[in-house]
Symmetry: C3
Subunit: 350 residues, 3 copies
């Protein structure tokens, strides 16, 4: 009997299965500093205790995506160690603010299974929940991954494909933000004179700047999240693999694009929900990430006179500036340089 974790294969999962993931993690100001060094975010609420306190937070909350990556990282050894591909996200909600000192754990429930027709792989749908040690839920989201079967001859389970929301309802947003005293929202310090009412559906924003990624950077990030997916770290093996090089964690791209989006969305201080996301193409060390956003929808939130919600489509490219908003080609396929298509709700002060 081996002591080593070989990860779960497709036939190890069953609908209704609940998996408590390893390694609870206390988030600290050290993690916050590293997150800043890795991506360069400039949102005032997460950067300044003083700014956050003036608005009604007890202190600066931890960046939403840092919370996401930590929760996601915990799920990897159990859910996706034998994954061929991370297919998508849906139904993500940030449910409570996270502060330095909070300890995060994660649990996943298998909510769907569908073997692929090749008999070699199957799709596993899990709802993962991150929570604090007092039980407070801070995040839940669904992701689905294509996982190898251990034994191609194993019988296929009855297919269960969960119904996933195309989009989180606006009124379900905002639980991770206390009621804000927006009279203390300072546009100069926030770095943008544009607020909720200044954005309209259909508007496109080129975030202009580009960020080149180094191997050391994405490895530091992915280890910080205690994400153990093999493809990110092992050049000896990956050098002989599909791409000949290490693959960058998809979440690294989301964080880079989000940080770039400050230039044009400086008041979009909080990611309240993740409607969907796809990693359209891989990113490698040496590539330069650019990003642009489209405002898909603007929505008021019931009971929240302080903030409004923008539904945003965040597109990231590699080695291609986004002044012309690259997305789909004439045949409706993603253009070659597009690497991320991420649909989320951001909150902005009204």
């Amino acid at each position: 009997m081996t002591k080593t974790n070989a990860g779960n294969f497709f036939e190890d999962f069953y609908v209704g299965q609940v998996i408590r993931h390893a390694t609870p993690r206390t988030v600290t100001t050290g993690d916050v500093a590293l997150y800043t060094a890795l991506y360069g975010p400039r949102f005032a609420v997460q950067s300044s205790d003083a700014y956050a306190r003036a608005l009604g937070y007890p202190q600066a909350p931890v960046d939403d995506l840092l919370v996401f990556h930590i929760v996601f990282g915990k799920t990897v050894p159990d859910i996706s160690l034998n994954a061929v591909a991370n297919l998508g996200y849906a139904g993500g909600r940030f449910l409570a603010p996270v502060y330095p000192g909070d300890t995060l754990s994660a649990v996943s429930e298998v909510i769907g299974l569908k073997e692929n027709s090749n008999g070699k792989t199957g799709v596993v749908y899990v709802r993962s929940t991150g929570y604090k040690d007092d039980g407070t839920e801070v995040l839940d989201y669904v992701r689905w991954v294509m996982v190898n079967k251990r034994d191609p001859g194993a019988a296929a389970p009855a297919p269960v494909v969960p119904r996933l929301p195309e989009c989180i309802e606006a009124d379900a947003l905002g639980d991770a933000v206390p009621m804000l005293d927006t009279i203390h929202w300072d546009n100069d310090l926030a770095g943008s004179r544009f607020r909720f009412s200044d954005y309209v559906a259909g508007e496109r924003i080129d975030h202009v700047d580009g960020m080149t990624v180094e191997e050391a950077e994405h490895q530091l990030a992915t280890r910080l999240y205690q994400n153990t997916a093999k493809v990110h770290f092992n050049q000896h093996t990956e050098g002989k693999g599909r791409f000949g090089k290490r693959l960058i964690y998809g979440g690294h791209v989301i964080s880079l694009a989000r940080a770039l989006s400050f230039n044009g969305l400086g008041a979009a201080f909080h990611i309240a929900g993740i409607n969907g996301g796809r990693h359209v193409a891989p990113l490698f060390s040496g590539d330069t990430v650019f990003a642009w956003s489209e405002v898909l929808e603007t929505a008021e939130i019931d009971g929240r006179p302080d903030v409004g919600a923008l539904r945003l489509r965040l597109i990231a490219t590699k080695n291609r500036p986004c002044a012309d908003f690259p997305l789909l080609d004439a045949d409706g396929r993603y253009e070659n340089d597009v690497i991320l298509d991420f649909d989320y709700w951001a909150l902005m002060p009204r």
Copy 2:
């Protein structure tokens, strides 16, 4: 109307203009740890709460240059996003100690403007001030940058060139250091048996060690400071530019040279003033930084029996050891390998 910050051009500035910069920043022990990892400083006062407390600080203060870089970083989106060159610094003073937990913001006043004769660029002089959220000023300094005009045809403003001090008066130094109980200064723990009275004007010190810089390192540093200058991060664009590669933030060089200077200046625990500084040549990833110092002047400070001031000229080179103190050639020009000429006041225990 674009939502994106295009930065200010030369004709957007006017003398007397006051700019409140974005993104207040709470400094944490996480930032301090990263600063240590990036440069390897070994000054005992900043490294040890216990050592600092024995001397009279409430806890270890944050490294002066970390404060400088954070304040500087805030000014970039408003002052130097369209800068062609960062021409110099003067009149810098550290005014109060900064501790983990303090939140820093920055404001700049335009104190001079002079269009260049080519009509395409002009020099902007700003005095930038960093302050805590209770209003305490922690740093002010002047820098001047060459900034592009948006429209070469725009009329030139009346030239205003501020008078800048060649050197901070010694008696104006030390506000960021409480009166120290130097009986608790421990030479062994400080890593140097030499104190203020052991140094004489004219003395030259080779700091011996060299430090090679990697892309990931300077990018992590510059993002940590939330400095958004494009030339540091974007290989896609810089690869086609003047140097064919990313340019390293000049402040990174200052911090590397300062950390190297511990070897020979271990008791010079505090940078009290910045008299002037020039980035003589660019630094790139893969280059190795060396440094040497000349003691320009030694000065007592009125009312301070605890500490004395050394005026130091810190020279950094790339790919050239400094045993022969490289500086100027026979024609009075900087030698090829010199990259930094930095004139500052350091405090030492007496």
Copy 3:
């Protein structure tokens, strides 16, 4: 008289000499976050305040190897700046838990000296002790290094070779771990269902995963530890040297291998003693580290019903997976790819 530290040469040491090392260092959650980012450790006790508290710690202790590296780093400027080789470790014990906020200092005593027959170098044996500012000892260990003589003509001292224990006694282990309330040890959160009684002497465990090292990573780590050994940082000089490249700090390898060993030894939460260690071959940037462990011995600890001790031999390789447990060749020499042979005691819950 030069102000620069040239380090000690062989003839500067004498048996009984006590050296107080420079730069006390307050360990913070920032250091902990960086340690996580550098190696990706997943041991629950060090990762989670909540998990540690449930067991009886006041908060999560700092990773043992981070403590080791910080103490080790302090000794470098005095002991091994002129070292040719770091020959070995022995007799290491972790004596008290270290928490963020604790300030660490180090002192070394020279316990042995032996000039080599070539007359150019000698071996220096030191016992180094790390302690908190209240005097609590947290770690002591012996290391021996080959150090250059300043003057090959200097007379050899009388040879003194200390008797070193081959192995720490099991009953001397565990001082750095409070009595644990192991009813709260949660296998799921700890990431392993195997505990002390599940391991047997002779058992071999392949840790499977590989980790490729980048220059920026080991430089960040080694500077974080304020370790000033020249060979790790200076490509200008090392490029002309023995290997043509920078040499990675041996401790970096130990930490990588230890983090990899979580996969198979997830409950081995604490390094209680270091019996011996050798850096068999150098590691360079771009190499991929793999590891495997052999259980040498299992031992109960007198008075400790909560934890047992595993004596482990941790072998690291470069660019070679460890499924076949590489170690010695037919002639009893280390195989080419082996880089570390590390003999230590780990504690596990019973």
